[in-house]
Amino acid sequence: MGNSDIPYESDFCLNGDIRELERLAGEVARFCEQHPGLADTEFQLNLVLEELFVNAVRHGGCDGMTNAACVRMRYDNGAVHVAFSDRGAPFDLTKAPEADIHAPLAGRRRGGLGIHLVRQIMRGVTYRREDGWNVLNMEHAVEQRQETL
């Protein structure tokens, strides 16, 4: 897997099963509990990681795979650094089309909203394909004066 070059404080893998979302939420909660000031960041990290994981399982062919996706996180210099990898079909999130969030109710199409949220919450998203893995590195700046989300 391609994101082993940086030491991370949280490091876990998920099987290709949507029911793993509960375990994902637990891992994110544990990570955020380790750092004062990250309590309000838990929602955002959960959201981003769910979107990426569900996309890999439902659209990337990871459904049923053992250790289909791996997550690493660390907190330093006021930002949470996240590496997300999955063994799904090649998919470069950074090149995915933008969702139309201004479309009226009747014009809202399925798909794209999750990626839009990832882009809203994370910065510096990079993608590479390595040894059969999609590897995303990104970070989330933690505001000194926390907003609620």
Partner: protein, 105 residues
């Protein structure tokens, strides 16, 4: 985990939504809202207990709102937490759903 309840109150069908609206629970959320929309002219989704929502949960709300619109049913999404409201904002849902701070009944 999501908890869904339904009760009648002052002419409204109130659907209580508590917990997480994620990819695992979104179908149940959509079904509960659609069921309420099928049988009542005015539906209020009480989101005060909704701790978390992802795009899957948002899609459930969008689908329910579409169903309500097609049937001429009034569907209000009420009392979202600041975190959930911010996801609505990021997704442009504030403009297409009827979101309000207080319950109508």
């Amino acid at each position: 985990m999501i908890q869904l309840t339904e009760e009648s109150k002052s002419g409204w069908c109130v659907v209580g939504v508590r917990g997480r609206a994620d990819a695992e629970s979104a179908d149940a959320l959509e079904a509960a809202l659609r069921s309420a929309v099928e049988g009542h002219p005015k539906v209020a989704a009480d989101l005060a207990g909704l701790d978390y929502i992802s795009s899957a949960g948002l899609r459930a709300l969008i689908q329910a709102a579409r169903a309500a619109q097609s049937k001429g049913v009034e569907l209000a999404f009420c009392s979202p937490t600041a975190s959930v409201k911010k996801v609505f904002d990021m997704s442009g849902l504030q403009q297409i759903l009827k979101v309000q701070g207080d319950m109508p009944c």
